[in-house]
Symmetry: C2
Subunit: 283 residues, 2 copies
Amino acid sequence: MERIYIIGIGLIGGSFARDARKALPEAQFFGIDANPDHVAKAIELGIVDAAATLDELKEADLVVLSVPVDTALNVLPEVLDHIGDHTLVIDMGSTKAGICKVVDEHPKRRHFMACHPIAGTEFSGPTAAIEGLFKGKTNIICEVEKTAFKLQEKGLALFNNIGMRIRYMNAVAHDKHIAYVSHLSHISSFMLGKTVIEKEENERDIFDMAGSGFASTVRLAKSNPETWTAIFKDNEENVLETLDEYIANLEAFKHLLETKNYQGVHDAMQSTNHIKQILKGIE
Amino acid sequence: MERIYIIGIGLIGGSFARDARKALPEAQFFGIDANPDHVAKAIELGIVDAAATLDELKEADLVVLSVPVDTALNVLPEVLDHIGDHTLVIDMGSTKAGICKVVDEHPKRRHFMACHPIAGTEFSGPTAAIEGLFKGKTNIICEVEKTAFKLQEKGLALFNNIGMRIRYMNAVAHDKHIAYVSHLSHISSFMLGKTVIEKEENERDIFDMAGSGFASTVRLAKSNPETWTAIFKDNEENVLETLDEYIANLEAFKHLLETKNYQGVHDAMQSTNHIKQILKGIE
């Protein structure tokens, strides 16, 4: 691959460019971003070599679409309109059903591979882009059978080169399950941060009392609001379902406390303790 | 200090013993625990030198009480009954109002210093005890004026030697604020783990989709149920208040999503983003 275009050069696109550069030292990298400062910064940081526009995508070997998922729904069809015969387009969004649907009838559908690399940090923008973010991480690919065989091969070779594990999944199932293991965590963390800030905002030294446990639980509340508003909007039905179940569990726990059912409080926690075993290997 | 007795030789007591041993290489350390296996393990691991009983506390220079907070309410008066004229007793519990109240009229009240070192991990038992857990961490001391001046000095010298920062606080205020910055995080994490496990228990490979964000948010759900049942029980009123506010914020967020008020969704997250600045230095 010689010409790689990154559309949306923030944490995810920028980090992917860094890893791909290492894997493909001969390739040239181009940045496209609605925010010209982001492209300039990405060039300055050596993430991409130059700015580009959609009109140049005819020459692209690979286009990486790493914009908020609501923007991706608009941009992807346009990208497919511009690409050449040998171009592979991948996206990196946290939701997959909508994006697959929006290009399902597109004449260039076979040029697109729907991806969700499970990687990230709570930071954003090109300065947050780091090398090695994707190494050892899982990349979930949806509707792989709809991507042309040769282009699948090209994408998989790059992911393999970067050190990612591949999992294949149905797009609708992806969105349902990811709501539990990713989207809900963000809401729980944002609302925890909000609750504590509302109460303690004017007593800043109270945060001196916070330890690493609080910091860990509230870490995702530093995430980018644009990115996450788009995700919650695109995956609204699933997210609302997880949120209902979460609130119901909190209400049930509250009831146990209120009725002084401490055996119940204990058991609710104990039954969750085996998350230890389940998560082994993730951290 | 020559003779130090640790009552409750788990994560906290064991880690404190490890740090105190380093600070006081000449001292002898003794373990007292309701579970004889814990004492045996602590001796094997070199955390303490020998087992002991409450009857020996007359000889103690320092007694460290690091048992679940409900047990501490019963054990502390008994400990004070047994100590000698030069003994300092400190506790390490996450709640402070109850423990201060229970010994307020005790003839040996001036031998007790109420402490809450803000340190821990999600693991428990003597095998979880690690060196350096307390270094650089905050130790909140309550009602310090009720501790004899000479014994205050003795305790503070040790904390200083271990590398802890000291903060003084009213016990009732401590319990109110710690509910926000520590206790609520544990509930949000336990209930997040419970919600996801209930849904995905039979589809273990779904956890392949979980990334570091989920792991971080659910980390505290590995914590010890005995420890935390006791804390929630002892700090019930404050914990219920935080839980009510947390649930109200989750309901409000859900309402924003249901009514497709995406600007509101965005703003709720953005207004919480400055937790970044607030938490600087904790992680």
